[in-house]
Symmetry: C2
Subunit: 285 residues, 2 copies
């Protein structure tokens, strides 16, 4: 039986693009579109769908805050992490040349991420901000005329557009043209040990000097490498913080089991989001 | 002479609402609209405008990631922190009643944040996602008919709409109906000591077990209370992380000066974003 993979729409978005790539390598998976991250995660929690793809860092689409809030509220686990370089493409209907373009449609953040290219190559176009890059591509395919969109490669295919330029996002210096985003595949369970795993947990500590330091000592003393730490105020109680921590290794490895046991004893709230492999998905079709 | 305060548009947004509130308490300030956070921050850096307001946490408008990236690249400082509860209002043209409404316009995140109210009170309306809540309010003021928008209170005033319900966002349990956001006022310099200050720094460490732990030890040993910590991969070098850390107190207080001196000796990259008071701005007109 095929499993269902929920993703945040609309079709033509980066999230659909990465969901298609993921499902190609992990068939049989049937894609199902959602309009909101929280609904998607609730359906995974309720067992209505088997898996979902949600952003956890630096996303153009959907709020990472919602994802983190829902991880606190629900019982869903991380099955796989997907690292994906966002590649912005300039696209228009067949026959339109770069120098013809008068109006440009995209998400406001995409304009911002492509500012150097636009300044150099299209200084006099009028920018029309849209709710998403995918909707921008659809819009110009319907309106026709001297219009272009900045959108994912996938959107060009879907709406019959031609790509005039790809990877037009600003680099931060010559050697770095990437704009990496992090998504996770969520499920009712996490992943078995692969040997190159990461583990994510959420915990809360009292807001007092040194308390975070002492908790991090548990990791340091067990030689565990943290790869990410983020604090956010807990919504229910002022002066209390939730920490979202990722570390290297699987929760079933001995030193991690030892550290997690120590944390459990010292923290009043500790939630395991699961252990999972991290996969880099190259951009392009 | 009046100073200019840059804010992220469009008019009617939460950012304009908070900018108006701030300028009322700190006149004379002239508001100037920007379309992108990075352009706003660059103009403060270049001295073209004196101040700007940008989001740093949990924002519906604009990306917090862009703000953090620009803090790394530019020489701008935090002058004041503003804590602001996002209040979603349901609004329509005068004469329209709640039960008349067929079509509802807003930002997709606002729909999501008001899901319980919408499910209970407006289960059969069609939702039209817009690029911003302010644009949604403007749209229904132009289109007329049985339409409503979810937008900030300010937008109703600006576009001649009537508020049908306020604070319609979901609460996380009965006692918490707030959706707090954090903005900062930026300038070419930080704030002098007020007695209730916070300080923000950015630093980088090598990705090795325990290195963060040892750096946090400097704070713990000096009795300094961290109020926020966030790590992000440094863009230029793989395996290196940037930490965005806030702590209580002013950089000119003795124990903080001692800790900062120790950090400077141990870190190869340490950037001071400034010391500043934190101000809670209540919602409502």
């Amino acid at each position: 039986m095929s499993s269902i993979l929920g993703f945040l729409g609309p079709p033509g978005s980066f999230t659909e693009e990465i969901s298609l790539k993921y499902s190609r390598n992990n068939s049989p998976l049937i894609l199902q579109e959602y309009k909101a991250i929280d609904e998607l995660m609730e359906d995974v929690d309720a067992g209505l769908i088997e898996m979902g793809i949600v952003p956890v860092e630096n996303s153009l689409e959907g709020s990472v805050n919602i994802t983190l809030d829902m991880f606190v509220q629900l019982d869903v686990y991380i099955y796989t992490e997907l690292i994906y370089p966002i590649s912005h493409c300039l696209m228009a209907l067949p026959g339109i040349e770069l120098e013809d373009i008068k109006d440009l449609y995209s998400h406001v953040q995409a304009f911002s991420q492509c500012r150097k290219y636009l300044k150099a190559r299209m200084p006099s176009v009028t920018q029309f901000p849209m709710e998403s890059t995918a909707m921008a591509a659809e819009k110009i395919s319907v309106l026709g005329g001297a219009r272009a969109a900045i959108a994912p490669r996938r959107a060009a295919k879907l709406f019959g557009l031609e790509i005039l330029a790809s990877d037009i996002q600003d680099g931060y210096g010559e050697e770095d043209k990437t704009n990496l985003t992090r998504f996770v595949v969520i499920s009712s369970h996490d992943h078995s040990l692969t040997g190159t795993d990461k583990t994510s947990i959420i915990f809360s500590i009292k807001d007092s000097p040194g308390s975070l330091y002492h908790i991090l000592g548990v990791f340091a003393e067990n030689g565990i490498n943290l790869t990410r730490i983020e604090s956010r105020p807990a919504r229910k109680r002022l002066g209390e913080y939730l920490f979202f921590v990722d570390f290297e290794g699987h929760r079933e490895e001995k030193k991690n089991m030892r550290a997690l046991k120590l944390l459990e004893d010292q923290l009043k709230y500790l939630k395991m989001l699961g252990s999972y492999p991290s996969v880099y998905l190259p951009s392009g079709s």
